[in-house]
Amino acid sequence: MSVGTLDRAASLNRWRHRALGEKALIGLGFLALAVTLPPWPGAALVSLAMLGFTFPGARVPWRLWLATVALPLGFLAAGAVLLLVQVGGDGIGLALGGTERAALLCLRAMAATFCLMFLAFTTPAAELIGGLRRLWVPAEIVELALLTYRFVFIIADEAMAMTAAQRARQGHSTRSGWLRSTAMVIANLLPRAMARARRMETGLAARGWQGELRVLSQRNPVSLGMVALVLILQAAILLAGTLL
């Protein structure tokens, strides 16, 4: 999986042209519910809702989704195991109530991760970052983030090509060789990234750049029906989560 894989999926799914606000309401709204509500049944309901939005809704490719979620879930497993044990004066033992705490943590973290995954798989990162402009984030920082985004793919491609070239010359066949080769990639990548930055300066200056990166952004219309559906669902989960 390369750096651009998720972003590509985000640009190709069925909900690509839904308004940013709607997707943010879904992803961030349910994320807030997931971490604030008591995990049972709140987080479990959030997980269910998110799977619904992700698969039947946005038709995210499930194979890729599974491959991506594996890593955070691995971290979760390692972390949760630690809640099962306790350390005291008399050594290590099974923690009292550890199973329950670990289970609740897993429920919450999974629900929250599904929310993040929904955002990552339905909304290109540039759109998300661009949305920060509408919040309190200063324009310069948003521009910096967007330029970073643009450079990420270019530099990642270069790094991948360099690594492939080294593999072809067996640069990764021993551990010390691997370390040395990776260092060489990094050492070559930094000046190249800087040279690219300078060329981009020239390229944008030629287009009349005055110091501010203004572009026309397309805004997708908000569907009130979807907003209503999401709000009702969130209210229901909030209610169920606090009462049950």
């Binding site: 971490v35 306790q86 910096l144």
Partner: protein
Amino acid sequence: MHIMEGFLPASHAIGWYAVSAPFVVAGAVRLRSVLRDKPEARMTLAAAGAFAFVLSALKIPSVTGSCSHPTGTGLGAIVFGPAVMSVLGVIVLLFQAVLMAHGGLTTLGANAFAMAIVGPWVAWGVWKLAGRMGLRFAVAVFLAASLGNLATYICTTLQLALAYPDPVSGFMGAAMKFGSIFALTQVPLAVAEGLLTVVVIEALSGKTRDSDRIAALAGEAR
């Protein structure tokens, strides 16, 4: 090492946002003034941010045989300075969350504190201190990068321990638990990162003739 989405309870998530905010805001204010004077520094900074991101996606072997990713914290702090790294670090963490599902949005505050604030400042402090003590260039780089990496790991461990204290031995016990699990991978990794950074800086200096040119690489971003 990122704390995953949803791993911290809401109160901790908000707390770490509050702790990180002043550092990031201060970095952002500084950055804005740099950008006002030199709009073209945007390109250099963006390239640096992208570089840091790509670095974190590269695999390096660790001594135990597992693979991991360099944090680039030390290298970034040495080349670009810690204040700028705090903002770049947050941008990088944000992209890691939305492009690779590493880390998360609710845990962004906590991860930023460990990786974009503690790590770079420790690395930078060690780098300056070592310079004042007259240590050899390579030794200074090694210490800065490996201790910066280690500081990030210790900070994350403490954050986890604070959120999930041991039922018997409390915070200290939890810190030991989380610490010992991650020490297996993270201590060798800190060493690997230190070595890596030394080789990188030496290769860079080889390309640019003298170590002063490291600063020149950063250009307007410094």
